[in-house]
Amino acid sequence: MIFQIILLIMLAYVVGFIYFGLYRNITARIQGRYGPTVYQSFYDSIKLFSKNNTVSYGWMFYLGPVIMATGAVLTLVLVPVFSDSDFLRSVTSQGNLFVLLYLMVLGPLGNALAVGTGGNPFGVMGVVRGLTRLIGLELPFYIAVVGLIIAANSSDIVHIIDLQKTAGLNIINHPLLFIGAMISMVGFFGASPFDIPGAPQEVYSGPRTEFSGKFLALLMSQGSLFAFAKLVLIVDLFLGGADSLVMLVLKTFTIFVAIIFIGIVYGRYKVEQAVDFLMKLPTLIAVLGLARIVWFG
């Protein structure tokens, strides 16, 4: 079991960083450049892990990235990666969607704890922005998830995956829920219309401003782990999961590329504009999807 968890984390680490490298390459190509090699993020990560921290604000400051990493790892472990195999099945069947939704908020909270200790105004501002944005992001996503739970009559992800094998994919059955969840997923990924907490032009990378060395590397790693976990979650919920590594990569990559494209071509909202938008359009779409499930099945 422990071996499987470590294997999973390593898999997610590698795939997450390769995705990040691909993200940088695709962005570069659209921008008319060659871009770095796909492995550049590995090099960055290794370089940062081998460096010392420049500033310290006590142990609470260091706890933040650790809490975030914990959240990411737990999310990763609880999301069923492969639908049919026994891989980690005994862990994932213990958790259900509600636990995951809680764990997904752990990241911003850890951020808030650490950055609050740091006292950097940009960091604090970034955290406040992040938490404000979270209100908007969670709403459509939670409504979509509630819709899926009602449709599957269960909050177990494994059950939701299994149901899609017989009843058809959720993306086809409940497209409105998918759109609502995807729009908020763009925000969860920090892609462009909603990349407000770490806006370099406004709050100078926000929460990450004070971190350096190993803890910045930890933040980067947890970011890529978490990104992978979120991609798998979306695939599990709407695309019927994946039974092999190839299918997993194919499905997650499709979702990932869609998010990249949105992130590239749009600018950044202001925080209240983002919340305003998220509470209107995606929420409306998700509510319509929910209503469709409740009244028409």
């Binding site: 695709i26 570069a28 190509r29 659209i30 008319g32 450049r33 060659y34 494209f261 590239i264 071509v265 749009y266 209107k280 359009l281």
Partner: protein
Amino acid sequence: MAIDVKGVLSPLSAIGTLFEHPRTLTYPEVKKDIPIGYRGFHINNLETCVGCASCEEICMNDAIDMIHPDKEYNVKNTSGCIPRIDYGRCCWCSLCTDVCPPGSLKLDNICTHADCDPDNFLYMPKNHKNIGEEAS
């Protein structure tokens, strides 16, 4: 809640450039052509340089020193000196080449110099023979 459909959809056309060839160069392998007439490093035709120090006089940055060459190139050189340029101070304004009476001092289109030793920024203009061929 009016939705700006054109504003939402038209930016997506940028994705079409994904498969276009990148417009940057992979620098060390492919280099950009530097056009003739680029204001790069100095070259000096020592056969015609008369050592008049016009270049030293006009240089507002005091970048030019007149020094003795290793051997005599031009018998008609009035002072027996040739210019040497401090590239820590030069701004490549090309005034020295404009005022050069025999037209021996020129700017080449070579423009890379990297060295650890700051003393190597004292640059001796390369000697060139035929101005007509390398006219800049």
